[in-house]
């Protein structure tokens, strides 16, 4: 199931995804199963499988491969979150204890690998070399994005071009796969390329909003606000302020990147500046532009209840507060 109400019409498919996640993580090794239970219980919005299901329906992909592909993407995403949480030493995600908090870093690193390998197991079951080539590319780009983000963390001044590289790799390409691979599996390369493009736009939008939520989210997100900067990530709202030469933001970012600590006072000052300077609004507008580009491309597909639902997800992405 998902916590996004707009996905209610595909709730039975999402239940099948939950079943597949449990089934493909399952192992006879009793020592590993408690970590699996924690994973399956604490999954999030399941936005990636939802989009995969919608594009699977749009192009008439068979049920089995549609669900396996959706579950594969969810596990791929989950495995990067598990490693992310170890790296960031995060105690909670979505309001629940992380694997590293409940077990330890050692076990969580290896368990992330296990989830990754379970995703590969699902991918292989698609039994399609073309799709596997794309999934392998996406996986490598996803991991490269995480790596690039960490390799450039705390760089000052941060480079806007690198930020776009990072969010394309770490977020957009996977959304690209959710839309593109169902099309590749049943409509061929040309349609698939439109799908990849639609998905990448959506992914960019999703990440831009995510980066705003770090500055404006409330408890619903289930994670502390204002963590990106302390982790050395200058995201879009900050990059826009730096570009405009905003003195307050420049000063705070420099300080945080030097001391790796953001005081509550500076955090409030920064948030206020990003809001009042219009930098958050500008970032949200960029996200909306991306969604607009995605929806224009969607016009080449016949309207039906699934394209309709996809449009609603797009609205959700820019208007969500979690």
């Amino acid at each position: 199931m998902s916590s996004i109400r707009v996905l209610n019409p595909i709730s039975s498919e999402l239940k099948q995804i939950d079943r597949l996640l449990a089934e493909y993580l399952k192992t006879p090794l009793g020592e590993i199963q408690p970590l699996n239970f924690h994973t399956v219980e604490k999954t999030g919005k399941k936005l990636r499988p939802a989009i995969t299901i919608l594009f699977g329906r749009i192009c008439g992909l068979d049920e089995e491969r549609m669900l396996k592909l959706g579950a594969c993407f969810e596990l791929l995403h989950t495995s990067t979150l598990i490693h992310d949480d170890v790296i960031d030493n995060a105690p909670t995600r979505r309001g629940h204890a992380t694997h590293n908090a409940k077990w330890d870093n050692t076990l969580s690193v290896l368990y992330g690998d296990f989830v990754f390998s379970s995703a590969m197991r699902l991918a292989v079951e698609l039994k399609d070399i073309g799709a596997l080539e794309e999934i392998s590319r996406i996986t490598r780009e996803l991991v490269s994005g995480e790596l690039l983000q960490n390799a450039t963390a705390f760089d000052f001044p941060p480079v806007q071009e690198r930020y776009f590289d990072i969010i394309r790799l770490k977020t957009a390409v996977l959304f690209g796969g959710c839309c593109g691979i169902p099309l590749l599996l049943c409509k061929g390369r040309e349609k698939a390329d439109i799908g990849f493009e639609i998905g990448e736009h959506i992914g960019f939008a999703f990440q831009l909003i995510d980066d705003c939520l770090d500055y404006i989210a409330d408890d619903k997100l289930g994670k502390p606000r204002l963590i990106d900067l302390e982790e050395g990530k200058a995201t879009m709202p900050v990059l826009l302020a730096l570009e405009k030469g905003n003195a307050t933001v420049t000063h705070i970012v420099k300080e945080v990147f030097q001391n790796r600590k953001l005081s509550e006072k500076d955090g409030e000052k920064l948030t206020l500046e990003l809001r009042d300077g219009g930098f958050l609004a500008e970032t949200i507008q960029l996200a909306k532009d991306k969604i607009h580009q995605a929806l224009s491309l969607l016009d080449s597909f016949p309207e039906d209840r699934y394209t309709g639902l996809f449009r609603k997800i797009c609205t959700f992405i820019t208007e969500r507060d979690f």
Copy 2:
């Protein structure tokens, strides 16, 4: 190239493996390339690609897939070593600085994922679903072995059956793939199953000797001796001593598992006991038995220079001191 002299007859193939490793790790992201250079420069014995090449030659597998499969296994193995070194906080491996020592834990965890994804990229290029199913199984078992080893670390009394599960998963199945998958790709399931079995025997032997070397190796191994016990791993020589009720070994293992520290004096006492009690010799004998089982199965293949070379590798495995 490899540091094992017995592999000289396939040195040109191993050079091709080096080339493939560099090619498939390569990325346009300048931030990641230094980690790649370090990986390619510091590779070890390349025993897994060597065995893959020999079985490729034995069954007449085409050059391209033989080399890609060998490189895939080497990267898969390398990715687990990178995560292992992070977990064990190891400063060196094979006498060279580890990735985590040269960079940091964060980057090394993500870089391990990157190497893993590069292995998958090579696997997909085999363009064979049957082989991919096996590689995906092997990958998952490999990771499960690492996970199981860490989940049961410091358990007292250690369980011999669990030890065999661990070394089968973390070591033997990958060697199984080196022998079995070339056969699967060109001789079908029945021959492949013999290959998997041969490789697993070899892998068991390799790990049993590796576990002895922790107690008897000299500087050539390029890593400190006596680290297994401090990491909570009771390996075969120790398990045999415990099984025989050896009081000295039982006492020391209990102490180390409680305090996670082995004094130099206790280390010497333990090594002496394992040697004089015949437990190291018994472990080496077990390894030789495994090699014998592998070589009996090899008799079903016509003798040629490649089976001959494989027999020499088997001798190397039990007689090596690094």
